[in-house]
Every structure is written in C-alpha cells, then in structure tokens.
C-alpha cells in the first residue's frame, strides 16, 4: 500500500489517464438527485461524490440479461460473448460498494467459479472515492464504512486535494504511468484525513442494531411481523435489483426466431413468485410473507452462518428505491419490538 496526494485540479487529467486502462465508468446525474453508473467520455460528467447510483456496480460484471449460449442456423455463437464487457475502470466506488464486491467474489469465485463473472471481474479496475453519509446510509452499523483492500486506488477528498491510496499492482501501474499527477502525502494530508474520518463517523444518523441479530431472527421465525410485511410488500423486486449483493439469477431457453435458440441468464429476485416455483407446480415460498422474510433472513441470518458476516453493506439503496416505503432498519427495529 502506498499513500500519495493529488491536487483537486488534476482530477480530470487523472480520469483522462484512467481511460488507458479500460472503459471509464462513473456515476452521472440522470435527473436531479438520481444517479446511474455509465460509461463516460466527457470526464466532467463524473459525479463520484454521489452516494448511490440506481443500479450498483454489479451490472459491470453481470448484465441484467445476457445470452449464455446461442445456436443460430446450426452454428454455435461464442460462449458468453454477450456478457464480455472488456476492461472497465469503475470510478467512484464507495467503501460499501467495495465490501459488496468482496461478497460477490465470495459467491461467484469461491466454490464454483462463474466464468461469466470472472471474465469481467479480472479486468475490472476499482478506483474508490471517499463519501459523506446521508440519512439512508448505515454502513457504519454493518462494519463496512471503511475499506482497506479489494480496490486498486482510492481517492479521499480533502481541502483542495485528494489523499490517494494505492492498493494493487494495477493501481501502481496507473501511478507509474502518470507520475506527474502525484506527490508524496505530507503529514498535514494524513492529519486532515484522520480529522475527516472522525467527522465522517460522527455524520451517520441511521443505525441498525446488529447485536446477536442472527439468533434474534431465529427466535422470531414465526413472528407475525413477517405476515404484516407481506401485506405491505408489492413484490416488485426493486430492492433486489438495486442491491449490490443480491446475486440470484434465472436461466431460460428461448426460441427468438426460426432455427435459433438461446440460453438466457437474467437477474432474478427471491421476491418473485416464480423464483421458488419448481417442477409439478410446487412452490416452496408461495406466500408473499415467506418471500419477504426470506430476503431478510438470507442477508442477516443464513449468510452470517455461512460466511461469518451479513450480506448487507448498509448502502441504503433498498430504502431509497422501495416504492411502498419498507425500510430495512425499521424492519429490524420492529422485529426487536422497538418500533
């Protein structure tokens, strides 16, 4: 790890330089206050301080819908080429996003390596950006508010400059190719970084009490709260689409035209009725309440048992995107009988 500084005025030169390492993707403002990750050419469009994009970075690794296999007029298409996004430089990742990336890596790269994911993952360059929380951020509670690995570079904005953390060989390559942009960090930079850190930790207003949460959930398995939530949930799946760690997918075969067949993989959500539908028309989560409950249990109970940490990073996207106002923090307060 190496710590440098870069003058704020050099940001656009830095972003131009990043283009040499892949397609530059950064948050851009779609409509006032609404951001999305997009490939950009004009670097002035980048809004790395934006707290959340509608869809998280997972779309840079697995497209919401892609063709896995294809056969057309008797010829097989290139395996998984549809999901090949080439080298991508993801600028504007926050600490929670990078933690989520680690979770996706656990799911897709540990026991059975997902080749579609891996191909894009190997060529993903992650350049983080320090943020200040708003009222929907609760990464502090999920222990994901800071990050010390799994990124290539990380920029923390200080007064008129950035503290630049270099954390991988690829990050080092970027620095070496652009020596003129960086200087060694001074003691004052470090001091200001530490002050900012303290200020940031104080800025959180939302917190989720995770004390003994997996066991609390075990105790509350049959609680009427899940039935109540089932009545409120639209099962629109928005929370899963926007969740940086929701990784479920569906695979279906399609006949788009004569003598052609495609095996298509799409993002899926456990909130959809079809998700747990199996042969014979049986559905092991037929009720809406069961499906809603499953989503929370997966994130905060089952995942903890398997991987030793929850699969929620506290980014607040589900809070921001639920049309009916279901708030994960309130749900767990309710489960604990506190609201």
């Amino acid at each position: 790890m190496q710590t440098l500084r870069m003058n704020a005025g050099l940001l656009s030169s830095f972003l131009e330089a990043l283009k040499a390492f892949g397609t530059l993707v950064a948050p851009v403002e779609r409509s006032p206050g609404v951001f999305a990750l997009e490939a950009i050419d004009d670097v002035s469009q980048a809004r790395p301080e934006a707290l959340r994009t509608i869809l998280p970075f997972k779309k840079l690794l697995l497209k919401p819908r892609f063709v896995m296999l294809e056969r057309r007029q008797g010829q097989y298409g290139a395996d998984g080429a549809d999901n090949d996004l080439g080298p991508v430089v993801y600028f504007g990742a926050h600490s929670c996003d990078i933690h989520a990336l680690r979770i996706l890596d656990l799911l897709y790269l540990s026991d059975y390596v997902d080749p579609y994911y891996k191909r894009n993952r190997d060529r993903l360059t992650v350049v983080g950006y320090g943020c200040m929380p708003d009222g929907k951020c609760f990464c502090q509670s999920m222990d994901t508010s800071t990050i010390d690995k799994d990124f290539d570079m990380f920029l923390t904005p200080l007064d008129g400059r950035y503290l630049v953390t270099v954390n991988s060989a690829r990050g080092d390559d970027i620095v070496r190719a652009n020596q003129h942009l960086f200087q060694p960090a001074t003691r004052r930079d470090v001091q200001e970084y530490l002050e900012r850190l303290k200020e940031r930790e104080k800025a959180f207003t939302l917190s989720l009490d995770v004390t003994d949460l997996p066991y609390v959930l075990e105790l509350k398995k049959d609680d009427p709260v899940w039935e109540e939530l089932g009545k409120k949930c639209l099962c629109c799946g928005s929370c899963s689409m926007v969740c940086p760690t929701c990784a479920c997918f569906n695979v279906r075969d399609e006949c788009p035209e004569e003598d052609s067949a495609q095996r298509v993989r799409t993002w899926d959500a456990c909130l959809y009725r079809e998700y747990a539908l199996v042969a014979g028309g049986h559905n092991f989560r037929a009720s809406r309440a069961d499906r809603v409950k499953n989503r929370y249990y997966h994130k905060q109970e089952a995942f903890v048992r398997e991987f030793g940490m929850p699969s929620c990073v506290g980014c607040g996207r589900c809070i921001e995107n639920c049309p009916t106002g279901i708030n994960v923090v309130e749900v767990f307060q309710y489960v604990r009988g506190e609201a």
Binding site: D253, W267, Y272, A286, N321
Partner: protein, 265 residues
C-alpha cells in the same frame, strides 16, 4: 409439431376488440414471410381471402373479448377445431378495456353512449375468452409485443413450450434505471402489478405504467392502493387509473386467485 411434410395449420381470429393484436402480427413484416413458409395459415379473415372455416387447426390464436352471444359461439367453434389455443392480447387473457365498465348494466351503457335505444347492439357483459374455454397458452399485451409473439410461434412450431418471463414491469424499469414514477413523480404507476415484457416502455418515456399487459401472478392490489393514497393521490385518481386495465375484471380475477391460493395454504 409438424408431422411428415405437412405444415401445421394455423388460424387467427378476432372476437370483439380493436384488432390491434392481429395488426401486430401483420407488423412482423420480415418474420412473417419466413413464418409463412413454416406454417399454413388457413383461416385469417383479416389478412386473406379463401379461408377454410371448418378444418382442424394445429394452432389457433384468438384476440378480443366475448361481448356477444355470437362471440361465444365463434369461440367454442374455434376451441373445437384447435389442438393448441392461444389467447392473444390483454382482452383475450383478462378482458382489458372492453371489460372496464362491466359493473354498469348494458342498458345504462347504451343510454350513456348512444342516448337512445339502438337495434344493432346485442351485447352481454364483456369477458375474456379464457373465462369460457380452456387455453393452452396466453400472451398478454395491449397490443401484444411482436418479439413475444414470435417467441411463442417459434416455440410452438419447434414443439417446445414458450417460457416467457413473468416478472413485473418494475424489473425492466429498474434494469433500465428509469426514474421511478411512484417515488419521484407521485403518480399512479401500475408497474408493480403488471406483467413485464414490454421493456417498461411507458416509464422509459416518463409516463406511468397503465397496466396494459394485465396483472402479474400475484398482484398486491391492496398495498398498491395504500401506497398511492399514502402519497396524497386522490381515491378518484387511483380508481380512474387502475380501472383502465387493473379493474374490475383484473380485480375480481386477481382476488379470486388470491382466495383460491389462501384456501390452498
């Protein structure tokens, strides 16, 4: 499905409706020529002359609602002729717009619309064909999506069952990263209740979903209504928007399904 050199015999029929779904088939211009080579369209009044109105059909497509006694007879004849019957469009699957005012008597409707008694109307309550006879497949949409129609046809001709997504419009809307019409525009958007497949066309153009593709398998009407009301939208506006497609046939059928599901648990 094709056995030997016989091309499958296909019929396309319209009951009471705007014929928009049949028009969508005609809009599949390039593909239609190729499809015509793989099947024998023997009965399609809208598009050809010299139709055979009595032969057995391998596949029959039916659009529109049953709004007259004659519609029902036609439907039963088609059913008797067809091996595979496909409901085409939201009218055929759910009742759609013609079923919008089923709660009003036909006499009242006649008076409201024509302001006099007219002889030519012999309408009954508008109901979807799926209400009267069993269908093997259904393809909603107002009108149907061409790509979905082609997938259904190609699957049927290939002897497989078409597997169309059953996710709500919200899936496609989120994937396109549209600004949510409910959250950001406080509109009655029927996306969460409505079956996707249209690519969230309306919300992608900044217009709330009107629900034209009919309901998802388990629409949560109550929660949707509560959500809209909670955002300060008047009951009148909610009812007006939802009654286009979402109610009342949708509503009753959706609720019936719900009750059946509840009793099964």
């Amino acid at each position: 499905m094709p056995n030997g050199n016989d091309k499958p015999k296909v019929g396309i029929f319209g009951l009471t409706g705007c014929a928009g779904d049949q028009l969508q088939i005609l809009n599949c211009e390039d593909e239609l020529v190729r499809l015509a080579g793989r099947m024998d369209i023997v009965d399609w009044v809208m598009a050809r002359s010299g139709n055979d109105h009595t032969c057995r059909l391998d596949v029959a497509f039916v659009e529109g609602v049953v709004a007259t006694e004659r519609d029902l007879e036609t439907l039963k004849e088609i059913r008797a002729r067809a091996k595979t019957l496909v409901a085409l469009g939201t009218c055929a699957v759910w009742g759609g717009l013609p079923a919008m005012h089923n709660e009003m008597s036909r006499e009242v409707l006649q008076r409201e619309v024509y302001n006099t008694h007219v002889q030519f109307l012999d309408t009954v309550e508008a109901l979807p064909p799926t209400h009267f006879v069993p269908f093997e497949l259904s393809l909603p949409g107002c009108p149907i999506e061409r790509h979905e129609f082609l997938r259904v046809v190609n699957s049927v001709l290939s002897g497989t069952e078409p597997d169309l997504p059953r996710v709500p419009v919200c899936w496609e809307c989120k994937v396109k990263e549209n600004t949510c019409r409910v959250i950001h525009a406080q509109e009655v958007c029927c996306g969460a209740m409505t079956r996707g497949g249209c690519g969230a066309r309306c919300p992608s153009h900044g217009v709330a979903c009107s629900g034209c593709r009919g309901p998802v398998e388990e629409p949560n009407y109550d929660a949707n209504i509560t959500m809209f009301a909670g955002r300060g939208i008047s009951w009148l506006e909610i009812a007006r928007r939802m009654s286009n497609f979402s109610a009342p046939v949708w509503m009753t059928q959706g609720l019936e399904q719900e009750v059946r599901r509840e009793s099964k648990r």
